[in-house]
């Protein structure tokens, strides 16, 4: 078998893997990133579909002031992002633009008005629920395991009010309010400073991650179409990986192995018998991927907002759709000339079982007709992407606030990516935070080999 030597071998070229690799390359470690797909980026990539530039996963993200920004700055990689100017909410069939501050209170006020218009005897009290929200923020560290839905049931059982929190939870964490902890939700809102500064890469995330890959290549390699066959472990220590390249197996000897393939796949590659039972139980218990359907709508005019402005909307109380981004209004790069692309994020009812694509599709189609009057005449479903609970690239590998440590029971073997937990993080920043954490741990304990 052909043999090669690197300081660090990284399995998987998702954002977590490439982030760790870019930092380590930048710090002088000779690094190899092996990716089984034919392109880098994982859920931070894009692909051409009938002339549209579709995101494979992450779309809108928090960039400014995050680990993601720190990594790009540290390694000197360029990024291109535009800030989404307008976040609005659709409540009771109407669109409401929200102030930067006090959006939750403002929404609950709207709901109180709607509720009282419908039923004069309603006792719904927006002020009481808003106070509950602020109490949750203040006491987020002592809320225990109560779910977000149960937390707000203390204050109200108004469906629309509960719907707001469900929609926000689904949009930011891909989880329903009854499938995530209130503490994780409140911590996320605090860390993201209210989820207001939302950025989108105008040429797709792949353009940005490509800049990180360039940093890796300056002191190492990024191989695509190269599936890892196994992780070599000897005496409880990772010694390298075996990859397949052009039909040949190559053994890569390395001081460190980093896996961005998800902790489950890491275990399979290293061999289940190398891990103790407690760790395996954690893998089963803590990695609960969220299923989601992403629906791309093509149209010959903007279906929302109809004036073609860049915007971002969360929808309260629809069947499946929780948020909508008119991508081509934000950057014409996403659609062919004269065409428009709208992204709809849709959450199935539970992440506990497999989804049924046919019923998801039916429900999403009904949503499109009910929510967007222009859809039937001007739009069509370009593509539905179903990401089930056992998808290789799920929406999220773990529920927000859960997940595994980046450390593994095997010395010099680390996991990165969104299967690793940083409390109150979600999506891309979960991946970059884990990449940064692992790179820093390696830098402080192991020196790159000379020459």
């Amino acid at each position: 078998m052909a043999q090669q030597k690197y300081d660090v071998a990284v399995i998987g070229a998702g954002l977590g893997g490439i982030s760790a690799a870019a930092l380590l390359s930048h710090w002088g470690y000779k690094t190899l990133v092996a990716e089984k797909r034919d392109a880098i980026g994982g859920r931070w990539s894009n692909y051409d579909y009938e002339g549209y530039w579709l995101p494979a996963g992450a779309l809108a993200l928090l960039y400014h002031g995050t680990e993601t920004e720190e990594i790009f700055n540290e390694v000197g990689a360029e990024t291109e992002f535009v800030r989404v100017p307008r976040v609005s909410y659709r409540i009771g069939g109407k669109d409401w633009e929200m102030p930067d501050k006090g959006a939750i209170g403002a929404m609950l006020d709207i709901i109180e008005n709607i509720t009282k218009e419908k039923d004069i005897t309603s006792t719904f009290n927006a002020k009481k629920v808003t106070e509950g929200f602020h109490k949750g923020i203040a006491e987020r560290d002592s809320l225990g395991k109560i779910t977000l839905k149960d937390y707000f049931l203390k204050y109200t059982d108004n469906e629309m009010a509960l719907g707001i929190f469900d929609t926000i939870a689904n949009t930011i964490c891909g989880a329903h309010s009854y499938e995530m902890q209130a503490a994780a939700f409140f911590t996320f809102l605090v860390k993201s400073r209210g989820f207001r500064d939302v950025s989108i890469a105008p040429k797709g995330n792949v353009a940005n991650i490509e800049n990180l890959a360039k940093v890796v290549r300056a002191n190492g390699d990024v191989w695509t179409d190269c599936p890892a066959k196994r992780i070599v472990v000897d005496g409880g220590v990772a010694k390298g990986i075996v990859v397949e390249k052009n039909g040949q197996e190559i053994e890569i000897a390395s001081q460190i192995v980093i896996s961005n393939a998800g902790p489950k796949a890491t275990v399979e590659l290293a061999g289940e018998q190398k891990f103790e039972e407690d760790y395996l139980a954690d893998v089963r218990l803590k990695l609960r991927p969220h299923p989601v359907t992403v629906c791309f709508v093509a149209s010959d005019r903007p279906i929302w907002p109809e004036d073609g402005a860049p915007a971002y909307q969360m929808i309260v109380g629809a069947r499946r759709i929780t948020s909508v981004v008119p991508l081509s209004n934000i950057s014409p790069h996403f659609a062919p000339p004269g065409q428009y692309l709208t992204f709809c994020f849709c959450g199935p009812l539970t992440n506990e079982v497999h989804m049924s694509p046919e019923s998801e599709k039916e429900q999403i189609l009904l949503d499109l007709k009910e929510q967007f009057p222009l859809f039937e005449k001007h739009g069509r479903v370009l593509k539905m992407v179903y990401k089930d609970v056992d998808d290789d690239l799920p929406e999220m590998r773990a529920r927000c606030g859960e997940g595994l440590s980046t450390d593994t029971p095997i010395t010099n073997l680390y996991n990165v990516g969104d299967g690793c937990s940083t409390y109150g993080y979600s999506g891309s920043n979960l991946a970059t935070a884990s990449g940064k954490r692992v790179a820093e741990a390696i830098r402080s304990s192991i020196k790159p080999e000379k020459g």
């Binding site: 839905k149 059982d157 329903h176 289940e272 089963r284 218990l285 009812l349 506990e352 019923s359 429900q363």
Partner: protein
């Protein structure tokens, strides 16, 4: 307004309410049971539909040594039931007959075997699943149910295996017995349930429908009181922190009925609505929001010109593992031919939506159940038809269950002489008709201690 006086007024003639009424009437309390529907029994009843007798809720009854049996015995009412003896599990498309005891272990053995067979066909490693480990942990769990309070049952099992079929077995059992998915019920509730129910045995069904049984209870009430059907309660009168009586509509007239004690079997939410929410403190109202999480379900009744399952017409119960919605089926007319017209057959299937956190979409549920029927019962398309879909959503007046197993409210209310009975107020590990029957026994005992008959 016309006025009447009773010792006890019971609102709602479900098994909790009618049970309380019968037990107290038997003990000398002049009792009135009022029911807004035109029949007694609530979800423990039955009705005629195109010549078939269909259950309104409870299909099977666990009765030997249970509170349901005790309510009938203590009030001297007949309880007609016949056993549905054989239990089968359908796993990986095949039916396996289960022993009366230890069926869980047998089920897990079959999973192991199926995984091994799959491995032989596909190659690779068998998906690790140690039956001994799971059964050992399960026994430990039933010894100390409280220990596992923080985990859902699914999470508890994930500690030991992520084998989908093993999870499917438990999900099916929990779904059938406790009407909840394994991810919507705490592990401690499941263990308590197993302890309380002593396993899954002595399943029986009422041969002529439960309405017959409930009318027997109503007769007991009538020996020392009245049962009024078609009589919706308009309000519960409260003054000075005490319930004074009710206002009920009868034949278009409002009647005021005074009583020493009021018992409500319509669910704590409806009780509050009738008495006025300002008579309850905020803590109690919050408990109602948090603890009453009704379970939704679709009951499906299938009519056919020959038995669909088992095809030989035997009496049996089938638990289905891994279907889209159906978790259990009972060929009702094979257990009791009286439930179907001559030459016809009646099969019941229990269809559980994927989540009881949100309203169900009836169209989606029915579509998925139809596919299940086609996939699970080869004779269905040619010989069967859906007689009736009966969907009970989370906000249904008569949901499958008013709360999840292991949750629920106290029978006491902040109003001293106002009690709730029914399946919203279960003791630990109880569910369904036995949960409701138990509240009838408990509340009637409390009332006997605190109130004397004839004082009003």
């Amino acid at each position: 307004m016309q006025q009447e006086k009773y010792d006890v007024v019971v609102i709602g003639a479900g098994i909790g309410g009618l049970g309380t009424g019968a037990l107290l009437a038997k003990q000398g309390y002049k009792t009135l049971v009022v029911e807004k529907r035109d029949f007694v029994g609530g979800r423990f009843s039955s009705y005629e539909y195109e010549g078939f007798t269909l259950p309104t809720g409870a299909v099977t009854v666990h009765y030997k040594g249970t509170e349901t049996e005790q309510v009938f015995k203590d009030s001297g009412a007949d309880l007609e039931l016949v056993d549905a003896p054989e239990l089968f599990y359908r796993m990986g498309g095949k039916d396996y007959k289960m022993p009366a005891k230890g069926s869980l272990g047998v089920g897990l053995d079959i999973v192991s075997k199926l995984e091994e067979d799959k491995t032989k066909v596909l190659g690779g490693f068998a998906k690790a699943m140690s039956k001994e480990k799971i059964m050992g942990a399960f026994r430990l769990g039933t010894k100390d149910p409280e220990k596992e309070r923080g985990l859902t049952f699914k999470d508890w099992l994930l500690q030991y295996t992520d084998n989908e079929m093993a999870h499917g077995i438990f999900d099916t059992i929990v779904g059938t017995l406790a009407a909840a998915h394994s991810y919507e019920i705490s592990a401690s509730a499941v263990f308590s349930f197993f302890v309380a129910m002593k396993g899954f045995r002595d399943v029986a069904i009422p041969p002529r429908g439960n309405r017959v049984n409930m009318e027997n209870l109503a007769k007991v009430v009538k020996t020392n009181g009245d049962v009024w059907v078609n009589c919706p309660v308009k309000r519960i009168m409260v003054g000075g922190g005490r319930a004074k009586g009710i206002v009920v509509e009868k034949d278009g007239q409002e009647i005021q009925v005074d009583a020493q004690v009021i018992v409500s079997d319509i669910g704590p939410k409806a009780t509050v609505a009738l008495a006025g929410s300002d008579n309850f403190n905020e803590d109690y109202l919050r408990d109602i929001r948090m603890k009453l999480k009704p379970k939704s379900v679709t009951m499906v009744f299938v009519a056919s010109d020959r038995p669909l399952w088992p095809e030989n017409g035997e009496a049996a119960v089938l638990m289905v593992v891994g279907a889209r919605r159906i978790t259990s089926t009972i060929p009702l007319s094979s257990v009791s031919p009286q439930l179907a017209p001559p030459g016809q057959h009646l099969l019941f299937a229990f269809g559980s939506p994927v989540s009881c956190e949100v309203r169900m979409d009836e169209e989606v549920e029915q579509g998925q159940i139809l596919k299940d029927l086609q996939e699970q019962f080869p004779l269905f398309e040619k010989h069967g038809r859906v007689l009736k879909f009966d969907s009970r959503d989370i906000d249904s007046d008569l949901p499958e269950m008013r709360c999840r197993v292991g949750e629920g409210m106290s029978t006491d209310t902040p109003i001293k002489n106002l009690y709730n009975v029914g399946d919203a107020c279960p003791i630990t590990g109880y569910t369904g008709s036995n949960a409701a029957a138990e509240t009838a026994i408990r509340v009637s005992k409390v009332i006997q201690k605190q109130y004397k008959p004839g004082k009003s």
